[in-house]
């Protein structure tokens, strides 16, 4: 009997050993054969994996990914300090990119040549981060809704829209960046008034995700919603007929066309300070900005390509061309924390 | 010479005294009964002897070896003390064979000894059974066989009769007496039952509130009890508590010393104990029927 238990224990340790070794190969081969890039990313889209595999093939490299929440990843980069294995930090919001830059996490990179095709408000003036795709935070309303007085984000506070607005919580980073843009353009006091005005017009206390806001219009609970374009794309191509109907029931309105333009957020990243693979990382960013890859982003994830001249997907382009707010995104990133505070002060839950 | 010797053992749990200055000797080929009410500390004393508890004070030896005291402490597994628990504590996942073999010293004679034990305890037919396939009496025999197989210097029995019915009781009593003789073992038996005590014990130690108040043969305990508790242990006794109003007519001698006289204090209460066996009522007039109430008095 006794021998049997010892055998159990042995078996256990053996199996533990073997599985650790087995899975380690993913990161261990850096020195052996392939040059490797380690990426911490908050972009959890299937298309990203496809694109990374393409890069691996084309450049004979290996890409390893940790997918997590931006806040967790930044925390981890901070804690790991000089010892971090990560080469690149990617995220889907400029606020987090800004925090990374402010914390000195990025090292300057040689801007890829493809950057020439990217408008300059989409990358960092010091050249430490680069935007890859854009998302527009647009206003949508019910097709049968008279939106003649609704042109700008600022119009959302008009008393006539009382009880008609559907929007997500303050926790949503896209809302935070939108408010940061309003602070940047109108100043803090006006922004606070705007928060209070929108809160007064909400049909209910904020809940759910972007898809839910569109559905609220579809069933008539609300008339107006603030959403990201790429969720609309996903709704329109959903295999759930009700979701498609919901997306078809709304009209997209690009705000502030007569003045500063529609707020856009950026998805992108930079090379981390302690990375020793700067060259390969630069290659990756150049690759991500290449026409071919930009098309992939546009078509499969309904994001707007950062690169000029690359068309959006058919679904997105049917909403028409629009003027973008060209407030430097680094400014918007800087104002992120202040935006969160304004939300709290204005009572936006 | 005593095999097991306890001197001035005291033990307290969380500041509450459980055993208080207990001294005890057990000789070879002797059964000592530890008797007392529940909570009197008898189980704790047994656990201290077995080595599961450590006393706060005192000395304990087996033969020449100090098990406890004088900066020594021998752990339970190093003591040659075997214990048979009230619930037998058989190993449920092992067969009778394996249970008995568990504590056997690793010598070549193992199998022979095992077979002998199985035979003595009438377990040969059940040797491959698991404990839950045995009756209560069989389980107890396994537990005793197992304890003896480990060749202890002292055998401890914790309430060996509490789970047995009357007919089994008598059988087990015989077995225990046989063990004493066959294996020449000193046995300490914890019990609360006077009948078992009288039937088995060579000597009895009475525990009351953590103190050993009297250690003697059962007969002596009966005839010369040290207090009313001991007096009432082995059967009904009549107890009066009163002052002595005419001290000149009463003589009291201390326990065990008939030639000494104790001076009587007329202001304190004394107990007068009359054992049942010492009272014989004679009905000279032959007027009484069985069941009649009678009144009588002491003058």
């Amino acid at each position: 009997m006794k021998k049997l238990y010892i055998f159990h224990v042995l078996l256990l340790t053996l199996s533990m050993q073997s599985c650790f070794v087995d899975q380690n190969t993913a990161t261990n081969n850096s020195g052996d054969d392939l040059p490797t890039l380690n990426i911490y990313t908050d972009r959890h889209y299937p298309i990203d994996d496809t694109i990374f595999r393409k890069f691996e093939k084309q450049y004979g490299a290996k890409i390893n990914v940790v997918k997590g929440k931006s806040e967790d990843l930044l925390n981890r980069i901070d804690k790991e300090g000089a010892a971090t294995k990560a080469d690149i930090f990617l995220t889907a919001d400029v606020g987090r990119i800004y925090q990374a830059k402010q914390s000195g996490f990025f090292q300057p990179m040689q801007l890829p040549e493809n950057i020439n095709f990217v408008p300059d408000y989409l990358y960092d003036e010091d050249g430490v981060w680069v935007g890859i795709t854009k998302r527009a935070r647009v206003i949508v309303h019910a097709k049968d809704f008279d939106a003649s007085n609704l042109n700008d984000y600022e119009d959302l506070v008009l008393p006539e829209f009382k009880g008609q607005i559907a929007v997500r919580s303050k926790e949503n980073i896209y809302n935070q960046s939108l408010l940061a843009a309003i602070i940047a353009n109108n100043g803090e006091d006006a922004a606070l008034e705007w928060v209070k005005g929108v809160v007064a017009n909400m049909y209910q206390s904020p809940k759910g995700n972007d898809r839910d806001q569109v559905k609220a219009i579809y069933v008539g609970d609300a008339k107006i919603a603030i959403v990201n374009t790429y969720y609309l794309g996903h709704l329109l191509t959903s295999d759930d007929a009700e979701e498609v109907k919901a997306a078809q029931s709304i009209q997209v309105l690009f705000p502030n066309q007569s003045n500063r333009g529609t707020h856009i957020n950026v998805s992108g990243g930079g090379v981390l300070q302690f990375s020793e693979n700067l060259e390969l990382a630069e290659k990756l960013f150049n690759f991500l900005l290449s026409e071919e890859v930009q098309k992939l982003y546009a078509e499969s994830n309904f994001e707007f390509p950062a690169r000029k001249g690359v068309p959006s997907s058919d679904i997105v382009s049917q909403w028409g061309k629009f003027k973008e707010d060209d407030t430097p995104l680094s400014k918007i990133g800087e104002l992120n924390t202040q935006a969160i505070k304004l939300f709290d002060r204005g009572g936006w839950k | 010479m005593s095999v097991l010797e306890l001197q001035n053992i005291s033990k307290s749990f969380d500041g509450k005294a459980v055993l208080n200055d207990c001294s005890l000797e057990v000789f070879a080929n002797e059964i000592l009964a530890l008797i007392g009410e529940s909570g009197s500390g008898k189980s704790t004393l047994l656990r201290i002897i077995a080595g599961f508890e450590i006393a706060n004070e005192g000395v304990m030896r087996i033969g020449e070896q100090i098990l406890f005291g004088d900066n020594h402490f021998v752990k339970a597994e190093k003591r040659k003390v075997a214990i048979v628990f009230q619930d037998y504590a058989l190993f449920p996942h092992l067969t009778v064979d394996q249970n008995i073999r568990f504590g056997m010293p690793k010598t070549a004679k193992n199998d022979k000894e095992l077979n002998q034990l199985l035979e003595i305890f009438e377990l040969t037919n059940f040797r491959k059974n698991k404990p839950n396939q045995l009756s209560g009496g069989q389980q107890q025999r396994v537990a005793i066989a197992r304890a003896i197989a480990s060749k202890p210097d002292v055998l401890l029995l914790d309430e060996p009769f509490s789970n047995l019915d009357q007919s089994l009781r008598k059988k087990v009593r015989k077995e225990i007496l046989k063990i004493k003789v066959d294996f020449q073992l000193p046995i300490i038996m914890v019990t609360h039952d006077p009948e078992d005590t009288i039937a088995l014990a060579d000597r009895v130690a009475v525990l009351e509130n953590g103190k050993i108040i009297q250690t003697d043969s059962p007969l002596k305990l009966y005839h010369e009890p040290i207090n009313t508790y001991v007096a009432q242990l082995f059967g009904p006794a009549f107890v009066w508590k009163n002052k002595i109003y005419r001290p000149e007519q009463v003589k009291i001698t201390p326990h065990g010393q008939r030639d000494k006289v104790v001076e009587i204090n007329p202001n304190i209460h004394y107990h007068l104990v009359l054992l049942q066996s010492q009272v014989i009522l004679m009905d000279y007039a032959k007027k009484l029927k069985v069941g009649d109430d009678i009144t009588w008095s002491i003058e």
Partner: protein, 533 residues
């Protein structure tokens, strides 16, 4: 002499081992206190000024609401199941544990999906009454509904604790009370309730910890508990959450210690069970009871399962995708190792409590199970800080521990030791201490006694404990997200990713389904063993 002998009867090896393990499990948590130095952080001040009271109030509200639902369902159902005979009793007895296999965030997402405008609730109405029917809608995206959904998911904690306690209550007690003229209600409130109270309390404690720890469900419903506050602090500046975390840790720790002293003075030993004589009732009452008792497993398990099955039917291709298969493999492997270690550590702590009786050993075990009360995200950061602090400048050990998943596994052990401990403790205490005592008095060393007597006897319970801990690890999210290594997915992280980022419960359904499926197997294993024992 007394002093000198103190400890001589101790088995120092075991005590040191237990002490080492406890320190290893407790010491990293101290690193949470690093954050206390950060009180002047202006983001923290903002949160204190504008949010803190609201966060605390919401947390208390959510805890009270969820606990109320778990108790209102769990307590009477446990009583009815343990006391009366009714149709499907044996089946429901087990089935009511199953909601525990559904993580709280999946419960919340599935229910909001069912009642969403494109959800099954509406579709079912249209299917039954025709396309022109104006469907009846229920808006479940409310705090009160969330309490209900969380209540479904967490009900088994109260139910199983109370069921075990009711089941071992002596039937003759009830009969004695009845013979004294106490009616059924009076007997329940005056007799059974006080006896079951400690078990009820431990069930409530578990529900409370789960509610405080939940982030996914709360964030979707935008119910801002203290965990949401920590997350907002992280958003404002990933460093400013440490102060709040430290405060939360101090709060929980004080509470935990208070509970220890409260608990240790109130130990109630139960009488042993006497037969399984269930009471008979009239037919009408029996059927009524069946309906009531079926509610939790129906709403907490069957309904979400059906919905997920329905949703997964649109994603059949996922089931054969390589990512899906790799994820299953990863999850299973990742869960089983810490589960086994949890059991080993638990065994050591329990055996140490047996071999070295006393307050110290008891306290060590109690301290080791603290991790379950602390939100996962806080534990993950603490563990990381702990390892990095002691590492060489090159952080070789840290990297190895991340790559080999050692750090992740360590954090799991820290968090889920309590689960293993409480599952195994019952089995361990059920062996009379005289059994190992007897082995030792026969000359077996403590080690031999452990391997040849104690361990073999509780081996069945060991297996179930591994299964139960595995279920909890499979469901775990925040620690996994923070301490994962490169190229690594688990069922929980993928489910989260699909629900949160692509906002599609459909995409998540195959992963969620499998998560529940694996959990269900674990629970059934547990119940199977308990029914036998």
């Amino acid at each position: 002499m007394k002093k000198f002998l103190l400890g001589k009867n101790k088995y120092l090896g075991w005590l040191l081992l237990a002490l080492t393990l406890t320190s290893l499990l407790f010491f990293p948590l101290i690193f949470i206190l690093e954050g206390l130095g950060d009180s002047s952080n202006e983001n923290v001040q903002h949160i204190q000024q504008y949010l803190l009271w609201d966060l605390i109030r919401t947390t208390i509200r959510m805890v009270l609401g969820t606990v109320a639902i778990a108790v209102v369902l769990g307590l009477p159902i446990a009583y009815l199941t343990a006391t009366f005979d009714f149709p499907l009793r044996r089946l429901l007895r087990t089935a009511n544990i199953l909601p525990i296999a559904v993580p709280t965030y999946i419960m919340a997402f599935v229910y909001s999906s069912i009642f969403s405008v494109s959800g099954s609730f509406i579709k079912l109405q249209l299917y039954i009454f025709g396309e022109d029917f104006m469907p009846f809608r229920i808006d479940v995206m409310r705090e009160t509904w969330l309490m209900l959904f969380l209540g479904f998911a967490l009900f088994p904690y109260v139910y199983s604790a109370c069921l075990a306690s009711f089941s071992i209550q002596n039937k003759s007690l009830d009969e004695a009370a009845a013979s004294l003229g106490a009616g059924a209600w009076k007997r329940f409130f005056k007799l059974h309730l006080p006896l079951v109270f400690p078990a009820l309390l431990s069930g409530i404690a578990l529900v409370t910890m789960e509610v405080v720890n939940d982030y996914g469900a709360m964030s979707y419903f935008n119910v801002n508990t203290i965990t949401a506050g920590i997350f907002q602090a992280k958003q404002m500046d990933f460093k400013s959450s440490v102060y709040l975390s430290a405060m939360v840790f101090i709060g929980i720790f004080s509470f935990y210690m208070l509970f220890y002293f409260f608990k240790s003075t109130k130990k109630i030993t139960h009488l042993t069970t006497s037969g399984n004589n269930l009471k008979q009732l009239t037919k009408f009452k029996r059927i009524l009871i069946t309906f009531f008792v079926a509610i939790p497993c129906l709403l907490g398990f069957i309904v979400p399962l059906m919905e997920l099955l329905y949703l997964a039917s649109f994603r059949l291709s996922t089931l054969t995708s390589s990512r899906f298969l790799i994820t299953i493999f990863n999850s299973a492997q990742l869960a089983i190792i810490p589960a086994i270690i949890v059991v080993i550590v638990t065994l050591i702590l329990l055996y140490n409590q047996y071999i070295n009786k006393g307050r110290l050993s008891e306290f060590l075990s109690y301290l080791s199970t603290l991790g379950y009360a602390i939100p996962g995200a806080i534990i993950a950061v603490a563990v990381m800080a702990f390892v990095i602090y002691f590492d060489s400048p090159e952080k070789r050990f840290y990297h190895w521990s991340i790559d080999a998943l050692v750090l992740l596994i360590f954090a799991y052990i820290l968090r889920f030791l309590a689960v293993g401990y409480h599952t195994l403790e019952g089995a361990f205490l059920r062996i009379s201490h005289t059994v190992p005592d007897a082995a030792r008095s026969l000359g077996a060393s403590p080690l031999k006694t452990f391997f040849r007597i104690s361990f073999p006897i509780i081996k069945p319970a060991v297996l179930t404990t591994v299964a139960v801990v595995m279920v909890d690890i499979l469901k775990e999210l925040p620690i996994t997200l923070l301490l994962q290594r490169f190229n690594f997915d688990t069922l929980a992280t993928v489910t989260f990713e699909k629900v949160k980022i692509t906002e599609s419960v459909r995409d998540a359904s195959p992963y969620a389904l499998l998560l529940i499926f694996v959990g269900t197997i674990g629970v059934l294993l547990l119940m199977g063993k308990e029914n036998k024992g």
